[in-house]
């Protein structure tokens, strides 16, 4: 252990030829990703940071305007509205997706031989193009003839106006988001398969019931995956765009969703490419980046209280 640590901290010049070769080989292997990251992620991010201090319509050279775009962030009523919508969606979507995905994964974990079939069935919707999902769910959510309200009608419940009532627009979009729960299900299923069965066996011998086994064995043992999906789903939720844009904003006639469905990234896109305010859109992008970073740091800081790492 001590020797391993010494190798890690040894200055580059004092590494052995073998270690150097291994390091170079490692760098060579990650270089495609690294170059891609520099060119397609880090570069544009740095550029957008610069553009956030300019007035830039894409067509003409940017003009430096100092903090003007950031001041505008403070006074733009639609920015607050769109950010509130995205946060509202995230607060509803993330826990719901995690709970549904975990429930499905637990069921799949017990299916046995047919697990492969069901795994495919649950994962397939995740690979449906987002635009198709948006168009499809406009019909599923239709208040009069949609599948959901027809199903509710069978139970004697008058379904709400998922696509016509501003109060139900976001819940409708959350429902739609469950369509792609499959990828989270697969992650949870993999984590569940990695829980050592002897732990359950020992718990049963000690008299633990199903709930106690779930609470004290399953949850801690898959908490690393739960934490990962929490972080990833939170980031993805705050950036939701394609499905909602397809459903309500593609033809600029957003109807009931004009305010209720105006998510942050939709507003950002419109500022950039419809209103030609790339500088302001860049400032918006950085605001969202900072918000996501703060949320992720909070999630990381609190994770040591509930995430169990084997061997840690």
């Amino acid at each position: 252990m001590t020797q391993q640590s010494a190798v890690v901290v040894r200055p580059f010049g004092r590494t052995t030829p073998l270690q150097r070769n291994e390091m170079l080989a490692g760098l060579a292997f990650i270089s495609p990703w690294f170059i891609g990251f520099l060119v397609f992620t880090a570069g544009p991010m740095i550029a957008s940071l610069g553009l956030a201090f300019t007035e830039y319509d894409v067509l003409n050279p940017p003009k430096f305007v100092g903090l003007q775009n950031f001041q505008r962030l403070l006074t733009d009523p639609r920015l607050g509205l769109s950010l509130g919508n995205s946060i509202f969606y995230t607060v509803l979507h993330v826990p719901l997706v995690m709970m549904v995905a975990l429930g499905l994964a637990l069921l799949l974990n017990r299916v046995g031989k047919a697990a492969g079939f069901f795994r495919t069935v649950f994962y397939l919707p995740s690979i449906t193009p987002a635009v198709a999902v948006g168009a499809l769910w406009l019909w599923i959510l239709n208040p009069r003839i949609g599948l959901i309200n027809r199903g509710l009608a069978l139970l004697g419940i008058a379904g709400p106006g998922w696509t016509t009532d501003p109060n139900w627009i976001k819940p409708g979009i959350v429902l739609m988001s469950l369509w792609s729960v499959g990828s989270t299900v697969i992650l949870y299923l993999a984590a569940l398969r990695n829980v050592p069965p002897e732990l359950y066996e020992a718990a049963r011998i000690d008299g633990a019931n199903g709930w106690q086994q779930f609470r004290h064995i399953t949850i801690p043992m898959i908490s690393g995956t739960v934490f990962f999906t929490l972080v990833v789903n939170t980031i993805a939720s705050l950036q939701i765009f394609t499905e909602v844009y397809t459903m309500y904003f593609g033809n600029m006639n957003s109807g009931a969703a004009a305010s209720a469905g105006l998510f942050y990234n939709i507003y950002l896109f419109r500022q950039a490419f419809e209103f030609l305010r790339m500088g302001y859109a860049s400032a918006m992008a950085w605001l969202l980046f900072v918000i996501i970073m703060i949320l992720t740091v909070i999630q990381l800081r609190t994770s040591n209280r509930w995430v169990y790492y084997e061997g840690a």
């Binding site: 319509d57 894409v58 067509l59 003409n60 406009l138 239709n142 208040p143 009069r144 003839i145 106006g161 696509t163 016509t164 009532d165 501003p166 600029m252 006639n253 957003s254 109807g255 009931a256 004009a258 305010s259 209720a260 419109r270 490419f273 419809e274 209103f275 030609l276």
Partner: protein
């Protein structure tokens, strides 16, 4: 060998030959100079109206290779193409957004193109040309000319004991009355909308009918808080009430088979609505026997009125082949090309035994030939013949929102205002006051960048 008389005749003949040959040679030269590749963005080839015209261009300019990136204009793709120096040679876009691109230099003025190719701008309809004219310079060659008229469900009228004379949009009280009478609710469920005012998209039409444009003629001053706009908005929003409000209205409207044989007119789900003329073509195809009537939309004085939209061709900054682009724009919108396309459509419809309601262009001269020589003489269906005649009668009463550099934001401001009122989030006064503030700020900012 020749007498003096013969020599004179020969000289005259020679002069005539030279005179005749010269323009031919010039034309050949002009066409001969147009070579290379022409990259077209924002255009599709969905039907014979598009393909025949493209073929006409290829025949006239065989040295030009045409590459069409099919699909509607993608702003993101267009802007990045220009910013990266890979601009298409010619672009097809809505006339309503052209001015936004023009004032930012994304597309170039066509003065030189019009002069060099001898494009006669007087052949195009004034309302369309006004939409593509910014600061006195023409930036686009207009293509289609979409007008609006009333579509009336005769069965619904008969059920309600009404006649066509009762459908009079100059009298708004009467519109409210027929809306009430035509609306049908059975067992608490809406089964027919009486009168759909088509909000938010047709607010400009209703406001103009009430005597006011949403934007001043110079494109600089928003007029969204004008009392006449307020009155138009309150009136049209009120038309949703008999149906049970906007939510019930939209939930029902979203279920219609709008483009199918069981559309809302055939299925008796709608009484009356104003709609663009292209929908007449849809009905002619899918339900030629529909019991409907077409009637002109009018202002409150009873004068015919239409709110026009349509597309235009433009040359982006950085076009690598502006000569070919210019030739393309001229060819695609010329009388001969339109007539060739309309003729092909007429033949195809005749062979298929379907109704041909024509193609409505922004080229007045082309329309005159198309409708007087091709469409109307062959149109025997009285219902759709009336529709064609109604459209032709209102084209000179066209209104379009004046060109302005903040077109997208201006549109968003008034459409969002209408939506807020329809959704019950604000009163009409509050919504229009907010929209006025947003629209004017966007206009001021955009104009200040000139």
């Amino acid at each position: 060998m020749f007498g003096s008389k013969s020599r004179t005749v020969l000289a005259v003949l020679a002069i005539i030959l030279v005179a005749v040959a010269f323009p031919i040679q010039r034309t050949s030269q002009a066409q001969g100079e147009v070579t290379g590749t022409l990259n077209v963005m924002g255009f599709s080839l969905p039907d014979e109206i598009a393909t025949v015209r493209v073929d006409q261009f290829k025949a006239a300019y065989p040295d030009v290779t045409v590459n069409i990136t099919e699909g509607a204009l993608d702003e993101q793709q267009f802007l990045t193409a220009i910013a990266s120096g890979n601009a298409p040679d010619v672009v097809y876009m809505g006339r309503d957004v052209l001015s936004s691109y023009a004032v930012r230099g994304a597309i170039v003025p066509l003065t030189e193109c019009i002069d060099s190719m001898g494009i006669d701008m007087s052949q195009y309809r004034e309302a369309a040309v006004a939409q593509v004219t910014v600061n006195g310079e023409v930036y686009g060659i207009p293509e289609f000319f979409n007008s609006i008229m009333l579509f009336i469900n005769n069965k619904a009228l008969a059920d309600a004991g009404l006649t066509l004379d009762d459908v009079d949009v100059s009298d708004w009280d009467k519109v409210a009355e027929i809306n009430q009478a035509l609306t049908r609710i059975e067992d608490g469920t809406l089964t027919r909308i009486g009168f759909d005012p088509k909000l938010p998209e047709f607010l400009p039409l209703w406001a103009k009918a009430n005597g006011v444009s949403l934007l001043s003629e110079d494109g600089r001053t928003a007029q969204l808080n004008d009392p006449r706009v307020l009155e138009a908005l309150q009136f049209t929003v009120g038309l949703h009430e008999p149906a049970g409000g906007r939510q019930a209205f939209m939930a029902f409207r979203d279920t219609w088979d709008f483009f199918g044989a069981q559309n809302q007119m055939v299925s008796d789900q709608l009484g009356v609505f104003p709609m663009e003329q292209w929908y007449m073509n849809v009905l002619a195809n899918v339900s030629p026997d529909a019991d409907i009537t077409f009637k002109a939309f009018t202002d409150r004085e009873g004068n015919p009125l239409t709110y026009v939209t349509g597309n235009t061709w433009a040359i982006p900054r950085g076009s690598a082949n502006p000569e070919a682009a210019c030739a393309w724009m001229k060819t695609m919108t010329s009388v001969d090309t339109w007539v060739a396309a309309a003729t092909t459509r007429a033949q195809m419809r005749a062979e298929a035994g379907t109704i041909n309601t024509g193609v409505y262009t922004a080229n007045r001269a082309a329309d005159e030939v198309i409708f007087s020589e091709i469409v109307l003489p062959a149109l025997t269906n009285e219902t759709f013949k009336t529709g064609v005649e109604v459209i032709l009668s209102v084209q000179d009463s066209a209104y379009a929102i004046p060109a302005n550099p903040a077109a997208a934001e201006f549109k968003q401001a008034w459409q969002d205002a209408v939506n807020r009122v329809l959704n019950g989030e604000q009163t009409a006064e509050e919504a229009l006051a907010q929209a006025q503030e947003e629209a004017q700020a966007a206009l001021d900012e955009a104009w200040s960048q000139q």
